[in-house]
Amino acid sequence: MKKIRKFVKSRKSGLIVIALIAVIVDVFFLTGQSDIKYFGVLTLYGFVYWITKFGSITTFLFCIFLLILLCIYYLLLGTVDATEKIAVWFVLFFAIGVIQKWRE
């Protein structure tokens, strides 16, 4: 467990970026909605947070990125599947951000 902690702490930024890239890949390149994707990424993100206790500001900044993306997709394509996917990611990350804020 200690090794895992050490590993996560040393590669905190990298792991967060992996989680966020996974979201972007899902939005841009994957079709269809799957709970495994959602909960897989959220578990990784939550785990990194649990170990490293990084600030909620990262999550809220990512939410702003998702919001801008959501607006662009909404404006260009309307309420297509990809737009809905971004919206769901937004809700899930917002919920995580609120939990982080509470724990701070």
């Binding site: 909620s56 997709y73 909404y74 737009t83 809905e84 899930l92 609120v98």
Partner: protein, 789 residues
């Protein structure tokens, strides 16, 4: 001072705009609720709200008492301001202003409990939040033909603020104000608003308690709260108790909706699944509902910035966020497949199927918590800005809000186009000819039902204005204003909708006339205006019935020639006919012939059309055998009957020459609440007499007495046993009555006993109201004493 001027300006703005929504002198009527209470509140009150019978179609026993205080208020208002245009505009202004002010006050109150308070930021955030609540797209798209339940737009936040203030200050004046508000807008706390009530109040009350206990850390005034709950139930008793009785009546529609598992599966879960594809999470987050309306995206942006810059109200922001997320999950239902499945299982909780239209039901509570969360976040952002920047930021936001809500500001959300071809809108007025026709129908000599033509798919009647710029499309004006039960659409034809259309399509006019008799239809109203059919053949009105019924007024004229008797009224395009004498059937009668029907063999209980006489009644064969004998033996040719309607829930009946058992039929929808009492004493039945079928039955002038003489005369009488109360004609009430064996006259009182529950409950509500007034007087005296000291 600037923020106070801004507040005043906003209030004035909200008061003025509803006066420009519809043209001067017109009315915003129609929709599922008809809104005819703005046109003629007294008639609406009398025909719809005071009695336990729905004044349309086959006359279901259903309590609609919930709007009595509100309608009484409108009646009083109409005495001062007779023009419905002003009443509608004033009411809209009250709704807008109260909604804005309540949200403004809530935010002010919540912000008073944050650690560091900036008055200017608090004022500005509260004003902007009030405007966001009023003008966010989730709140502006439902103002056209608004239902009574739409009052939640202001009732919800106002109730929230009053309860919050009561819990925080323990001052009784807030609780008393809430009680009075709940009484006046009791429709918002009734069966008709059950989903709206249960969507908002449980969450709101939990929030208020969380805030009071964990953030404001005040002591809860338990005694006052308990007293308030008792008085609240007392004040609402006049509609809650009759509704509760209806809920536990196994024959009632509401009972099957709440407790029947099959109904839950069919009407709850299937409806929920059918709505899932249109529940778009992106719409709710962006508050957009259309690519051209993305302006409100600043709301989630401000919320995120509020979390990032938050320095003063972290706890409050987190608590509100939790409520916001819960509301979003309930509203969108589409956040992950796991949630969809969990949501589905909720429908097995008794009563949860009221949320099957989850989009409509959770929208208001979602908008409310979204606004509050926005307000708190905006405060966090304003707190870190300099004063000048605060005002600039606020003005930009207000500008964006107004642009986003422009459809409501300009009246586009209210005065929508109903007929695209002729650009005919919601705002309408009734022509003199139509008003005179309604007045004529009000004084018809019998309580027979009316068939409205052209028939529509649902239950709507279509009445154009004189200048054809507006049209009324809503529940029958005949029903709600004149009080006569009217069949305006296919949906209200009871079990005979398909049969009616089949006979019309196959041009079997003689059988169609018999069907009118079975439904108790005595009159046919025809609006011959080509504008509502030839010029505007709208699929949403005639798409289904048009396959069987005429599609033009010329064809209707021919159709009417085949099924009507003499014309008794005509003015302009409005005509009233009697049905053919041969098949004219009174509201209460003793059938000359009884047909036993095997329901399995036909689409409807009246599917076997082998009766060739009027006064025929159809009884299911199984019911006949349960009555210990053949139904055919009960056909009665010599017995005569006369009756008088005291009100829609009570009739006096006199039967003569009953030498053999017979069935007494009353053509209102079957309900176990209808009881037939034998009266030992002769009942005087007075009024003008109308005879049917060579004197076999006759009706005396119908009345509508709310407080009839001997109100509770049947209270200690024993009724005809329930096992002899049967359903006849597939919908109506029938009683098998043993003969007296002589020529003696028999007297009966036919009564819907549910109406009694209302009278008793109304007394409880009246006493509770007196108690509230006494409380107000005591509060006033105590306040005066304190000031003097």
């Amino acid at each position: 001072m600037l923020h106070k001027k801004l507040l005043l300006f906003v209030i004035l703005f909200l008061i003025i705009i509803p006066f420009f929504w519809i043209p001067f002198g017109s009315m915003d009527l129609g929709g599922d609720a008809s809104r005819l209470y703005f046109y003629d509140p007294a008639s609406y009150l009398y025909n719809f709200s005071l009695f336990h019978v729905v004044p349309q179609g086959i006359g279901h026993a259903d309590p609609n008492f919930f709007s009595i205080p509100y309608l009484l208020l409108l009646v009083l208002l109409q005495l001062i301001i007779p023009d419905p245009y002003f009443i509608i505009s004033i009411y809209s202004a009250v709704k807008l202003c109260a909604a804005f002010l309540a949200v403004y006050l809530i935010l002010r109150e919540l912000l008073n409990h944050v650690k560091k308070i900036s008055e200017t930021s608090s004022y500005i955030a509260s004003i902007v939040t009030g405007l966001v609540y009023v003008f966010m797209s989730t709140m502006t798209d439902n103002w056209d033909k608004a239902l009574l339940s739409h009052d939640q737009v202001f009732v919800n936040p106002l109730s929230f603020w009053l309860l919050l203030k009561f819990l925080l200050t323990s001052k009784s004046r807030y609780l008393v104000s809430f009680l009075l508000l709940s009484f006046v807008v009791s429709h918002s706390f009734s069966y008709t608003s059950t989903p709206a009530f249960f969507a908002f109040f449980p969450l709101a009350i939990i929030f208020i308690f969380c805030f009071a206990l964990f953030i404001a850390k005040v002591k809860i005034p338990i005694k006052g709260l308990l007293g308030g709950i008792i008085l609240f139930i007392g004040l609402q008793a006049f509609h809650l108790f009759p509704q509760a009785m209806n809920l536990f009546d196994s024959n009632s529609y509401i009972n099957s909706r709440v407790f029947n598992t099959q109904s839950i599966d069919q009407e709850g879960i299937r409806y929920y699944i059918s709505l899932l594809p249109i529940a778009k999470v992106s719409n709710y987050i962006l508050l957009a509902f259309g690519r051209d309306r993305l302006i409100m995206f600043f709301v989630p942006l401000v919320i995120l910035l509020g979390f990032i810059f938050n320095k003063v109200n972290k706890k409050l922001l987190i608590v509100t966020s939790v409520f916001y997320i819960v509301c979003l999950l309930l509203l969108s239902a589409n956040v992950t497949q796991v949630w969809v499945e969990v949501y589905k299982s909720f429908f097995y909780i008794p009563g949860f199927s009221m949320f099957r239209n989850f989009i409509g039901q959770w929208l208001f509570v979602y908008s409310f918590f979204y606004s509050i969360l926005f307000g708190l976040s905006l405060y966090s952002c304003l707190y870190v800005l300099k004063n000048k920047l605060r005002y600039s930021f606020a003005l930009i936001l207000i500008g964006l809000i107004i642009v986003s809500g422009w459809k409501l500001v300009a009246g586009g959300s209210v005065n929508k186009v109903l007929f695209n071809g002729t650009n005919t809108r919601v705002a309408t007025s009734f022509s003199r000819d139509f008003i005179d026709t309604i007045s004529f129908i009000k004084v018809l000599p019998t309580s027979g039902k009316i068939l409205t033509l052209p028939l529509t798919d649902s239950f709507y009647q279509v009445v154009p204005s004189n200048d054809y710029k507006g049209v009324y499309i809503g529940p029958s004006v005949i029903s709600y204003i004149s009080g006569s039960k009217d069949f305006a659409g296919y949906q209200v034809l009871g079990p005979y909708g398909n049969e009616f259309l089949r006979l019309a399509k196959e041009k079997k006019y003689d059988e169609l006339k018999k069907l009118l008799g079975i439904l108790g239809i005595e009159y046919i109203y025809w609006n011959s205006d080509p504008f509502i059919l030839d010029k505007n053949y709208e699929p949403f009105l005639y798409g289904f019935v048009g396959n069987s019924l005429p599609q033009s007024q010329a064809d209707y004229a021919e159709f009417l020639g085949k099924i009507t008797g003499k014309k008794i009224w005509s003015k302009g395009y409005y005509h009233l006919y009697e049905v053919d004498d041969k098949y004219l059937t009174p509201h209460i009668y003793i059938p000359k012939s009884i047909q036993s029907v095997d329901e399995k063999k036909s689409d409807t209980p009246a599917g076997d059309w082998n009766g060739d006489r009027a006064f025929v009644v159809y009884v299911e064969s199984q019911v006949c055998s349960e009555l210990n004998g053949s139904c055919n033996a009960m056909g009665n040719n010599k017995t005569t009957l006369s009756f008088r309607r005291v009100n829609p829930t009570k009739y006096f009946v006199k039967v003569s020459n009953a030498k053999s058992p017979y069935i007494l039929v009353m053509s209102d929808a079957y309900s176990s609440g209808w009881k037939l009492y034998r009266s030992d004493t002769a009942i005087k039945i007075l009024g003008k007499l109308t005879k049917y079928g060579n004197g076999y039955a006759s009706e005396f002038t119908p009345k509508n007495e709310f407080f009839p003489e001997n109100l509770f005369e049947t209270l200690f009488l024993s009724n005809i046993p329930e096992k002899k109360h049967i359903m006849v004609n597939g919908y109506a009430n029938g009683w098998k009555i043993e003969s007296s064996g002589s020529n003696d006259e028999q007297y009966f009182v036919l009564e819907l006993v549910n109406q009694r529950i209302f009278y008793f409950s109304a007394v409880i509500s009246g006493l509770s109201l007196i108690a509230v007034f006494i409380w107000i007087v005591l509060l006033y005296i105590r306040r005066k004493t304190i000031i003097r000291k």
